[in-house]
């Protein structure tokens, strides 16, 4: 046996030892999650991008012929209208979430931390009830013969029942009820971190409370504001079950359009291209977020 053989055997031995020490446990621990993320998240998303450039065959399947029609299709007035309406509803939901979520989060953040934890828990509990039954109950409240109309009529404020169901308004209220906790949590996190001495400094230097709020509080809590915009706006575009329970089939979000392409009309390539649109909106908002705050602060949990 010459020396080069010994070296070879040695190196093989170290390799095996190295495998036993590091590769095997690494494979056992990080392997499943790596497989899962690649196979169930990344691969399907790439395939969605691919399909969005394919055409639909006669039987509702996918014909593997390249086309950009699925994207130009979106520019048809029917679809453009749905996309625009969806963005509008999501925008109002986000705006109202911020307008009521911010003072609310501020109120909680100024409580002692034990009380604050309980108050936050109280807004998370509804999140654990079946969201569909909750939305349906909201619909019952707002129905022509529902509680709100009856009370208003008894008070003599209205003579005819208000038509609240099947309107944009009730869909926004439904989205609000579903999304409010997601707006409050990041807002609370950033307001709670706010150093009160900045506010004192600002008022000591003579700024009125409103000025302090706009010039100090808002800029310092901007990461929380943008995080809650993202956590509300993006899901709002896709929550197809809210218009389905409250909108009476008249109001559509991008989510409803996508759902119909997959489960009703079977035009998968067009549905895929609409999903890519949602991903692009998401990426744009995340890019915006990274300009305002560091990405790792998105972790609300």
């Amino acid at each position: 046996m010459n020396s080069s053989d010994t070296v070879k055997i040695n190196s093989r031995l170290t390799k095996r030892r190295h495998f036993k020490r590091n590769t095997a446990p690494a494979l056992a621990m990080a392997g499943p999650v790596t497989f899962w993320m690649l196979f169930f998240v990344l691969l399907p998303l790439l395939y969605v991008i691919f399909i969005s450039f394919m055409s639909r065959d006669l039987y509702g399947g996918i014909a593997f012929e390249f086309t950009t029609e699925n994207y130009t299709n979106m520019l048809k007035p029917v679809y453009l209208n749905v996309i625009w309406q969806s963005i509008k509803l999501a925008f109002f939901t986000t705006l109202i979430c911020l307008l009521i979520g911010y003072p609310f989060a501020y109120y909680i953040a100024r409580k002692p931390s034990k009380v604050a934890a309980k108050l936050l828990m109280l807004i998370m509990i509804p999140f654990w009830t079946n969201s569909l039954v909750r939305l349906y109950s909201l619909g019952l409240l707002a129905a022509p013969k529902g509680f709100i109309n009856i009370v208003l009529q008894k008070l003599g404020l209205i003579s005819e029942p208000l038509q609240m169901l099947h309107t944009n308004g009730i869909v926004v209220v439904g989205l609000l009820i579903s999304m409010l906790p997601f707006a409050v949590l990041p807002l609370y996190a950033s307001i709670e971190k706010l150093d009160k001495s900045y506010l004192e400094a600002s008022s000591d230097l003579g700024a009125r409370p409103a000025v302090t709020f706009w010039k100090v509080t808002v800029p310092l809590t901007l990461p929380g504001i943008v995080a809650s915009i993202i956590l509300v706006f993006i899901p709002s575009l896709g929550m197809y079950y809210v218009p389905e329970t409250l909108g009476g089939g008249k109001i559509m979000l991008i989510g409803n359009l996508i759902r119909n392409q997959f489960l009703v009309t079977r035009n998968w390539p067009f549905g895929a291209s609409l999903s890519i649109l949602l991903i692009l909106i998401t990426l744009f908002m995340l890019w915006f977020y990274t300009r305002v705050a560091r990405l790792d602060e998105l972790e609300v949990f």
């Binding site: 056992a28 990344l42 691969l43 399907p44 109120y107 569909l132 409240l141 998401t282």
Partner: protein, 277 residues
């Protein structure tokens, strides 16, 4: 005098703030109150109160098709939770401890199921299952649920790992325990509170999911939320209210149990560490 005035102003401000917060809680809880009240209502179509009854609860226990869907949902949620917790716990430790080529990619892809709209994940899984010819239904729903639960488990576990002193592990190995023993005797007990939180999170996400399940459910095995979605258009029977009321009570009990377990574990963990030194 001005000081007096300022304090009065402050008190009024505080009252307005409290009133505002109460209004928000009223807004969030009103539908739940309606849901609970109508579960005791002696009327099929729910618009107004028609007297107290327990018959919807009785119906739930004796003859109800809706309970079958609850069982399907529960089995799926439990299976998805167990799988997610195993993959997520191993993954969280593995991703912290080891360096490998795909690590950065995996770390970043963990955020995808959290940030993209659920519907996109739903259709991409539908397309995947169609491509690999996996029949829709039971197994497909479990796989889909694991996909969106694992990232949450990992994020919760990471928060937990960051606060841990893992040198105890090295101590264990120095004292002669092998990797396996160390993992099961040292690492796992330290991670237990994180595992419980992760399991709780996965279970609640899975049991309430409608957007993704709707795509991968197929015609035969359907979860409770997907079934309710199909019933909503024609109107829900009060027995669904009764079921949802029972479920929120169970969930509240779960939250309570979870916080008690967490407190006990925290107390025990601190005494265990103390006894080491």
């Amino acid at each position: 005098m001005p000081k007096h005035k300022r304090e009065r102003k402050k008190r009024i401000g505080q009252r307005i703030a409290t009133g505002f917060a109460l209004l928000i809680y009223l807004f969030i809880y009103a539908p739940i109150a309606v849901m609970i009240v109508f579960s005791f209502n002696d009327q099929e179509t729910n618009y107004f109160w028609n007297g107290f009854t327990l018959r919807w609860y009785e119906k739930l226990f004796y003859d109800s098709s809706i309970v079958e869907y609850l069982w399907v949902s529960l089995i799926i949620a439990v299976s998805a939770t167990i799988l997610s917790v195993i993959i997520g716990t191993l993954g969280a430790v593995g991703l912290v401890r080891f360096e490998f080529k795909l690590k950065k990619l995996v770390n970043q892809s963990l955020y995808i199921p959290i940030v993209i709209p659920e519907i996109v994940l739903g259709i991409s899984l539908l397309i995947l299952f169609d491509f690999i010819k996996l029949p829709l239904g039971f197994i497909a729903i479990i796989l889909a649920h694991v996909t969106f639960c694992v990232p949450f488990v990992i994020i919760i576990m990471r928060g937990r790992l960051a606060g841990l002193d893992l040198s105890v592990e090295e101590a264990s190995m120095d004292l002669g325990a092998n990797r396996m023993t160390t993992f099961f005797r040292i690492t796992l007990p330290m991670l237990l509170p994180g595992i419980i939180s992760g399991a709780f999170m996965s279970f609640t996400l899975s049991i309430d999911d409608v957007i993704i399940s709707n795509f991968v459910a197929g015609p035969y095995s359907t979860t409770l939320p997907v079934k309710i979605l199909s019933l909503v258009k024609t109107g829900l029977s009060p027995e669904v209210n009764a079921l949802a009321t029972i479920m929120i009570l169970v969930m509240l009990f779960g939250i309570l149990a979870n916080s008690i377990v967490q407190a006990v574990l925290r107390k025990r963990a601190s005494t265990v560490i103390k006894s080491y030194f």
